[in-house]
Every structure is written in C-alpha cells, then in structure tokens.
C-alpha cells in the first residue's frame, strides 16, 4: 500500500523511514467506486491524488455540456486540477472514476508543509511538473500535426496498458476524433 507511494517517490529522491513516515502522515487514503466524481468543476478544495489502483479521467465540460478529456490517470500516476490545487482556486475540471479507484491524496497545506520540512523532496515534485509539461507539449504537437490514424497509433504506442482499459469512445474523445472515425481506422 504505502510501498507503492514510497517506491514511486524514491525513484527520484531517497527517503529514510522517518522521512517517509512524516510525509505519509500528511496524506489520506480514499476508496472510490466506478463512476464516482472525486471532485467537480467549481469546487473549492482541490487535492492532489496519487493513484494506487484504478483509473480516472480529468474532464472539461464546455458550455454545451460536451465532455472533453484533459487526461487519464491510472496506477502510479498523479492527478488533480493542478492549476486549482497550487493556486488554491476553484476547480475548472472534474475528476471522475472510470474504474473503482484507491488513492492517496494531499491538501495544498500538506504539500507546502512537506516541502518545507523535507526540502529534498522538492526535486521530486519539480520532475513531475516538468514531465507533465513535456507530455502536454507532445500532445499539442500530435493534435496539430497528425491524422486521426497516426494519433491513434501514437496513443497505442505511448499508453499500451491504458489503451486496453479505456473504451474506444473515451479514446476518441481524448484524441479529438469522432467515435465513428476512430472505429473506421482499424476496420
């Protein structure tokens, strides 16, 4: 259980048992059912989630209530409306479970406390942020550049496990392609 989170962090920075214990004390653990909303657009308190098991999607609803997928996240990934989280503002996105999901979560206060008390963890967060930024840029380029077919192939290549757990409908929404077009690509 914890070991998942600990291993995850220790891929970047080493922690003593004591340090990890202190860190863990700032997290809480939650269990969500399939279809649950972890947080919704407009909510005040946004937390950052480390997913132990399960699968979630971060979505944006436009004024026509169409749903757009900002990102997926599964085991060993972090997810949140990070803009809202770090700026203590209200959520712009909604986080919904596609599968039953177990996760650790932390508040912004907890996060800041940890950074202050265990400063050596800061590079860990920074690396996550850079990774997220880089993969967003990759996705932007894919959206700008690629045909639906290539977008889909790249998705399969980049996220082989994810692509087997998410419905084609969801993948289509993520790629910005209609469900029908996606279906016709590989048939």
């Amino acid at each position: 259980m914890h070991s998942s989170l600990r291993n995850h962090i220790e891929r970047v920075v080493d922690l003593s048992d004591q340090e990890f214990g202190y860190l863990l004390a700032h997290f809480e653990y939650a269990d969500f059912g399939k279809g649950d909303l972890i947080f919704q657009k407009g909510e005040q308190v946004v937390r950052a989630y480390y997913i132990v098991s399960g699968l979630v999607k971060l979505i944006y609803h436009d004024e026509n209530v169409n749903e757009h997928i900002v990102s997926f996240a599964m085991e060993d990934w972090w997810e949140s409306d990070f803009n809202a989280f770090f700026n203590r503002s209200t959520a712009n996105y909604t986080l919904k479970c596609l599968e039953a999901t177990k996760a650790y979560y932390i508040s912004i206060e907890g996060y800041e406390k940890i950074c202050k008390e265990i400063p050596k963890i800061q590079p860990f967060w920074f690396q996550k942020a850079i990774g997220g930024f880089a993969s967003s840029q990759r996705r932007i380029l894919s959206l700008l550049t690629n045909s639906p077919k290539v977008k889909y192939e790249q998705f399969l290549k980049d996220y082989p496990t994810l692509s087997q757990r998410v419905s084609k409908t969801q993948i289509a929404a993520y790629l910005g392609v209609s469900r029908e077009t996606l279906s016709r690509i590989y048939s």
Copy 2:
C-alpha cells in the same frame, strides 16, 4: 538589463543583492538577429533562455518538413526545449527568432548549482513549470474543443500584445488552422 530578470524572479521570491549577483554570474547574455536559430533539433547542449527583448518561436519539423509551432515567447518569458534541457538530451525542437532578440541563458549545470546554493529559488522554477503545464492544458482543450474562429478569438484575448507582433501565417500555424481559413474568419 539585469533588473528585468531580477524583477521577474522577485515576483516569486525575494533575493538579496548578493544572492542575485551570485545567480546572475551563472547566466550569459546573448544577442540574436531576426531569423537566427538559437538552437536546432538534434543539438546536444540546450540552454534555457530568459528573453529580455524580442520574440522567438519554438518549432517542430515533422518528417515532411512541415513546421509546427510549439510556442512563442517574448519579453519576460522563458523558453527552451525544457525536456531536453532538464534531461540533458538532444533538442527535439528548434528555437528561431522572429525578431532581433536579447536574452540571458543558463546551462543545466548552472541551473543545478543555483538550486543547490540558493534553494529558496526552487519555488520560482516550480511555479514556472506549473504555469507552463497549466497553459499547455488550456491549449489542448482549445485544440480539442474550439472552432477556428473561437481559437483565434481566445488567442487574441490570451495574448493581445503577442497577436499584434506575429504574422497571421504564424498565428494560423500555432492554432492548427490554415492561413486561408484564418483570413476568412475576420473578413
């Protein structure tokens, strides 16, 4: 000259004269002409640039040598192939000047040294990273969601000054819309 960089950083963290002096010693200053390539795809040493004046674009060339615009950057913005920079890998993108540009730049070694010697600067970098990530997500949503017209309107709203300095052709490439379509939007 320096004051620009100093003000920029001090919007997030306060620095003593001594600290800023130490920091500045790790930067170099460069002057580029219009059309110059600051770095190119495939290059080994990638630096991070703080732009004092001028305007640049970060571009990606696909296999058909079509040019796609990852981002623009102007005064008071940072730019680099940050993935290459932080991972010490070769550039995936090319950075080209759209105007004559003056910039401070730093190597990854310099960056790491500063972080170590003046740890209180770390939140500054982190905030930049989060900001970049959030705006990338916004752009992804815009690409997924909006019509060319709305994309353009949002661009004008988000980057009023930038939109007056960049040619329509460049804006069209940034938005993922053809030059002709963009032209027809507002005529």
